[in-house]
Subunit: 168 residues, 2 copies
């Protein structure tokens, strides 16, 4: 393929590809799920974050993985590196065991936040700009009713764009 043909094809492709075309099904959690389960869902599915949905499958939170971890690490440890270094073996286990029955709803910030979502007809450039702006490696894709129809991971977005990206 000539460089021009390649560029034409890329132009056409990026222009017509929409979020729904690259969105994939991902497991979600609810506010009632335990944090330990949420971390497990993320790990098992190797997701870069988690989508927290309500009873109508509408995304309430889209949490980057580092913030899912934030749910699991006691707050005092997060804010004080010196304190973390003092934790000896006898107490380090608290990191997980203190989680106990705490739910996702117990741990997310109280203040409402607009979840990182795009409509299913958004362009890939819109998805990329949203990820960059919101510092989120995960975007929820929703339909007209606001219900979740899939998700786009950073990995998938980059792979999709790279297929027709500039040659090295």
């Amino acid at each position: 393929m000539t460089a021009q043909a390649r560029l034409d094809r890329h132009t056409e492709w990026v222009g017509f590809m929409q979020a729904r075309d690259i969105a994939v099904h991902v497991p979600t959690v609810t506010m009632e799920d335990r944090v330990a389960k949420a971390v497990g869902v993320m790990a098992i599915s190797r997701l870069p974050g988690l989508i927290v949905v309500d009873a109508l499958s509408r995304p309430k939170w889209v949490l980057p993985g580092s913030q899912v971890l934030r749910l699991a690490v006691p707050e005092a440890y997060q804010e004080d590196p010196a304190l973390v270094r003092t934790i000896d073996e006898a107490h380090a286990d608290r990191f997980w065991t203190e989680l106990g029955d705490r739910t996702v709803g117990d741990c997310v910030p109280r203040s409402p936040s607009r979840p990182v979502t795009v409509h299913s007809d958004a362009t890939l450039l819109e998805v990329a700009a949203l990820m960059a702006r919101q510092h989120s490696p995960l975007v929820a894709v929703v339909d007209d009713s606001g219900a979740l129809v899939g998700a786009i991971t950073l990995d998938r977005l980059i792979t999709s764009l790279a297929v027709f990206g500039p040659e090295e």
Copy 2:
């Protein structure tokens, strides 16, 4: 295994595991590398971010993936969702082609920042707290001289912790 035996084992394990024990080798980039290459390195190695090193292999930046994307998305698009929606097919290709020869050094913030690093003898709890605090799914592990010896991804950290985490 009884719950107590399990807890004892977990306690011992978390207490003795250090960053060096779970760090893995990852490809890195330098300030002189082109952004297009940096995005490619991240995608091919399926990394959640990138470590930018200097000539002595010391981490200068540890960029979460969404911020690597930020290097690649023109700033005007990031700040103005309405503008992004106006981009038609004929211009959407600019997203990649405008990258041209821009290097990582051209795109990272000018202000110096402490890279997200831990010493190789840090505990896993320290690593978790750092990821949560810095919103970073990637941590660089360094030796006494500050040189990179490996990296820990969020995925790897969670998997390592989960092995002996609380039962579901």
